[in-house]
Symmetry: C2
């Protein structure tokens, strides 16, 4: 059983806190805003009003004994940096920090944050890429060269033909690992399986090949 | 060729703008802060100082002719709402908005935003789940019942055995679709393939089966 602390209960920290609690974890929630702490009294295992820059208070909360401390203060960069230094010196096993900007991230890295997240920057990238390829339902890079994509088939030349007829592996060098139709997923489909309009194909292969296939299904 | 506009060049909007430009798109970048607009002069196709609440200015920028307008103003909720109403009335094809809070999101939905994103809330959830399952490198739900997970193998009882010996499909009902080792990905691996320490297996199957497998590899 691990114990978690979340310092800074804004949109990012609050979501971390709620998700951990929903997953059955024990969470100490900390913020210097009394109203916010009061809101989290019924959510977190324990909710405390404290200033993240106050070494004595953080020490008294035994933050050094925690498996993972999240420091989710973005705009108040000074408080984020001070809290990270204090919690690092107290000896918490893992410190995960929000960074507001790239320079904020560089400072956090220097002072020993184990993991640094820039939520708005990451999501902005994700949203932009998703907007450019609306028929790509899901995408993840398995490593630098191989990717998986879930591609909605809207191009008529794919519809009504079997996987064998489409010869996807021969033409694109990628493997169709599943076909989702309505709410059903057919994993490792037969070559005789016929593609219908609206089908979503999960494919794996070299990233450039997956990209070529995506364009072909537009 | 689509045309995009981004109103609000904070961390989220700035990242959307940069990602679209990197992908070869034409982007009109708008903010009411002169310093920020000046920073984007060398990034966006065009960068303009304007108040998102000023209907005349937004009209003069022909925002109604854009395929997609991103309104990425979070903290200034009033400006976000006004800009959305104006751009909706001007007739832009698609409006994608950032919402700071759930109540902000409800208002945006009512006034016609096509898509609403809460970046910090989504990333907070993601980071919390990732922290709880560190050996799950990647995870995506193919639909409500079927998931894909990339799982790092650290449990000794999996190591040094072939896929056939481990009988993963028989035991867990899931399909191993790829093995990543160092920087190499072996798609549709042979049953004779032996698992080594540090291998990452990409598996597909019913969500509960994938979850059971994840726990078994801890
Ligand atoms: N010195 C501090 N001590 C404790 N809590 C603090 C301190 N400074 C800020 N906070 C709290 O941290 C939370 C997030 O802070 P802030 O608004 O600076 O970051 P943010 O990154 O903009 O938040 P969000 O996650 O909503 O985007 C707020 O609830 C705030 O009250
Ligand atoms: N009325 C307005 N007109 C144009 N731009 C605006 C207006 N109000 C705010 N902005 C700009 O929008 C950007 C983001 O605004 P704001 O800080 O309110 O949102 P945020 O969600 O906190 O940003 P971030 O994406 O960094 O988390 C800022 O660069 C700001 O200058």
């Amino acid at each position: 059983k691990q114990n978690f602390a979340v310092i800074g209960l804004g949109q990012f920290g609050g979501s971390i806190c709620r998700t951990l609690v929903e997953s059955g974890q024990e969470v100490l929630a900390i913020d210097n805003d009394e109203q916010i702490v009061s809101d989290f009294m019924n959510i977190a295992t324990r909710a405390v009003v404290a200033d993240a820059e106050d070494e004595e208070t953080l020490k008294s909360l035994s933050l050094g004994n925690f498996d993972c401390v999240f420091i989710s203060i973005g705009e108040h960069i000074q408080a984020s940096i001070m809290a990270t230094i204090i919690v690092k010196e107290l000896g918490a096993k893992s410190i995960i920090c929000k960074a507001e900007t790239t320079s904020h991230a560089r400072v956090l890295e220097k002072i020993g944050a184990n993991k640094i997240i820039q939520p708005e920057k990451d999501m902005g990238r994700r949203v932009a890429l998703q907007t450019l390829s609306p028929n790509i339902v899901n995408y993840l890079a398995l490593n630098n060269q191989v990717s998986l994509a879930e591609v909605k088939i809207i191009n008529k030349k794919f519809i009504g033909k079997s996987l064998a007829e489409l010869a996807i592996r021969e033409k694109f060098g990628i493997t169709v690992i599943a076909i989702s139709r309505n709410d059903n997923v057919d994993v490792s489909p037969m070559p005789s399986e016929v593609i219908l309009a609206g089908d979503t194909l999960a494919v794996v292969g070299a990233t450039e090949q997956v990209t070529k296939f995506n364009k072909a299904t537009d």
